[in-house]
């Protein structure tokens, strides 16, 4: 059986930021895939490199400091042809953004233009990518607002972002992202700023659009509850590296990497009964910052299973049964 080629296939991605004095590598050794019609969650805490990874895919690394210093980002386009986004010219990349790959962000207010109506903003993008005339593009914009379940779409199209609630603004962002029928949607913490009842609506909307449009979704989040809710596949990052990936059930039922295990265990919902009747949350000692300058395993300074060898050699990302990948030299004995 041959697996269909993934929509997005990132292999050994490394991103470097250079200043005059020195350079840092916030992301290295990142490999992950997103299949058409499926959601891959990219999960990690702050500083894990998940947002930098997504900016690299979008070709939006801040220039000239940031660049892809190694690896490939293979993307299968609507035409069926596969190109390496890491080596595309900026003007080619600009045409792909919006039409092939679209992105939504955490705070829609800072992503929308405050002086244009939401209809005008969507129409502008449609005209850029399709060359439609103004009135046809505006009709398309209204249709898109209807697609994201904004009631009274024709009237709402004439409103400005500040006239809308946070949930409505995120729907507008999604309408904007969907307006040119992208094959891949990158969602970077799209519900983090929203209330839970609104978050549930937005997650259901993204899921519906993914199914209806056979779209791949790369869903970036720090929230494991949201991961369990939306993901088919999960990639876990720590300190700029992928440490584990698996399908969502395997990841929650049988996490292999000590970091993944610890991250799941420190959720309040997984608190253990303590001695005096109250429940105790398990925590991970230290902070992510302690990974800076570590030559061996990045998680070794905080890991409960560290051996001397962990501080010395840097583990490779290995593929184990069922396509699960793991970066830990002790996974066999843990």
């Amino acid at each position: 059986m041959t697996l269909p080629a993934p929509l997005l296939d990132i292999e050994n991605l490394e991103v470097t930021f250079r200043t005059e004095e020195n350079s840092v590598t916030p992301v290295r050794g990142v490999s992950l895939r997103v299949d058409a019609g499926r959601t891959t969650a990219l999960v990690g805490e702050s500083g894990s490199g998940k947002s930098v990874t997504s900016l690299a895919v979008m070709g939006l690394l801040p220039r000239p400091a940031g660049s892809i210093s190694a690896g490939a980002i293979r993307f299968r386009m609507k035409s069926g042809e596969t190109s390496n986004l890491a080596s595309l010219a900026p003007d080619v990349m600009q045409r792909l953004r919006g039409s092939e790959i679209a992105m939504i962000f955490q705070e829609p207010m800072t992503s929308l233009n405050p002086v244009l109506t939401v209809g005008e903003q969507i129409a502008e993008q449609v005209r850029y990518h399709t060359g439609m005339n103004a009135s046809a593009a505006m009709r398309r914009a209204e249709e898109m607002l209807g697609l994201v379940e904004i009631p009274d779409a024709v009237r709402r199209a004439t409103e400005y972002p500040h006239q809308m609630s946070g949930g409505m603004r995120q729907r507008v962002m999604i309408a904007l992202a969907m307006s040119c029928n992208p094959r891949l949607l990158i969602a970077d913490e799209p519900t983090t700023a929203l209330d839970v009842t609104i978050q549930a609506q937005i997650l259901a909307l993204i899921d519906r659009l993914r199914k209806e449009h056979e779209m791949g979704v790369l869903f970036i989040t720090h929230n494991l509850g949201v991961v369990a809710e939306v993901a088919d596949d999960v990639t876990v990052m720590y300190a700029g590296e992928v440490v584990e990936s698996a399908d969502v059930r395997t990841l929650f039922r049988n996490p292999r990497h000590p970091y993944t295990q610890a991250l799941i265990n420190c959720l309040p919902a997984r608190a253990l009964p303590g001695a005096d009747g109250r429940r105790v949350v398990r925590s991970i000692p230290g902070a992510v910052a302690s990974a800076a300058g570590v030559s061996g395993c990045k998680f070794a300074p905080r890991c409960a299973h560290t051996l001397a060898a962990c501080h010395v050699s840097h583990p490779a990302l290995e593929t184990i049964d069922g396509g699960q990948t793991i970066r830990c030299c002790r996974w066999r004995d843990l």
Binding site: T197, G225, A228
Partner: protein, 325 residues
């Protein structure tokens, strides 16, 4: 009085602005906090949970209602009269980056709290600061550092040490772990639990995260648009919620279990503006049980069991099977 409540709030109301732009931030809220008890305030944005915290500390003036602290009505005291009470109630803020003065050393941030109430001077002051830092899991020699030298979790520990400095009877913790990474969140939650055990202070714990609230609190007060929807023992409210809003809130909270994924009855629409809250029950515009009667009057609190109340005319009083989240 055999068991005087530490805090007793009755009919607490706060409106901002003037008509026609009158914001109903908090409307007729009543609850108690016993000595050493942790009460959780949970609700979405605009529910009034932070405003209630600030009203109790008298960082804001009340529009109506009363706040009793140690049996004394403090709701109408002037800012000067309230000062002695301030020593006995402290606040821990959400954002550890914004709540510590970046130009002060840690010892001065904590020392300021001691100085304001004339608690310790000279060598005793220094000793006390070191002791407080150790209590919250930092080191005494961190005292000379500035906030930027610490991570988010460590800064939150400094914020907690500052609150503890005056040995308060009540700590209002407003989303104290929301800005922190999950792994660090766990450390701070455990620290707060330990401190409560050790010093026996009461807490008003404000959060939008039901899992955190359930873990930390003895009792929960569920708020929506400035009003109490349901209140009761934490485990009872989260396992046997009565109010349709509590049920919706629980159903909408993502569970870290892919097998628990199911199609949910999502609440439709947005939270109404607190400028013009719906008449009668404020939740009726999004409520699956709502009918014409709900618009007529603000529902009375109904009793659902020991210390368990809810404000809905349609929800049943009888015990329902364990609520599936």
């Amino acid at each position: 009085m055999s068991d005087p409540k530490l805090v007793q709030i009755r009919g607490l109301t706060k409106h901002f602005g003037k008509a026609p732009a009158l914001v109903h931030a908090v409307d007729d809220v009543s609850f108690d906090i016993a000595r050493g008890e942790v009460v959780g305030l949970v609700g979405e944005s605009g529910s009034g949970k932070s405003t209630i915290g600030r009203l109790i500390l008298r960082a804001l003036d009340l529009t109506a209602g009363t706040v009793e602290f140690h049996g004394r009505e403090i709701g109408k005291l002037s800012q000067r009269e309230i000062r002695p009470f301030r020593r006995r109630m402290q606040m821990v803020f959400q954002d550890p980056f914004a709540s510590l003065n970046p130009r002060l050393r840690i010892k001065d941030i904590i020392g300021e709290a001691l100085d304001a109430h004339g608690l310790a001077q000279g060598a005793a002051r220094e000793r006390r600061i070191g002791e407080l830092l150790e209590i919250v899991g930092l080191q005494a020699d961190h005292a000379a550092r500035f906030p930027h030298e610490f991570s988010g979790g460590q800064r939150q520990r400094v914020g907690i040490a500052r609150a503890l400095a005056v040995e308060p009877d009540l700590i209002v913790a407003d989303e104290p772990v929301s800005a922190l990474d999950v792994s660090v969140q766990a450390q701070v939650l455990n620290l707060l639990q330990d401190l409560r055990q050790r010093f026996g202070m009461a807490m008003l714990f404000i959060s939008h995260d039901l899992d955190v609230i359930e873990l930390m609190c003895d009792r929960i007060v569920v708020l929506y648009l400035g009003r109490v929807m349901e209140a009761g023992p934490a485990d009872v409210v989260s396992r046997h919620p009565r109010h349709p809003y509590t049920k919706a809130l629980l159903a909408a909270s993502p569970r870290p279990d892919p097998d628990a994924r199911h199609t949910r009855d999502l609440l439709k629409g947005d939270i109404p503006s607190p400028l013009s809250p719906p008449s009668g029950c404020v939740f009726r515009t999004r409520c699956p049980l709502a009918d014409a009667a709900c618009a007529k009057a603000v529902p009375m609190m109904r009793n659902a069991g020991p210390d368990h109340y809810f404000a809905c005319i349609h929800a049943t009083e009888t015990t329902s099977p364990e609520h599936v989240r």
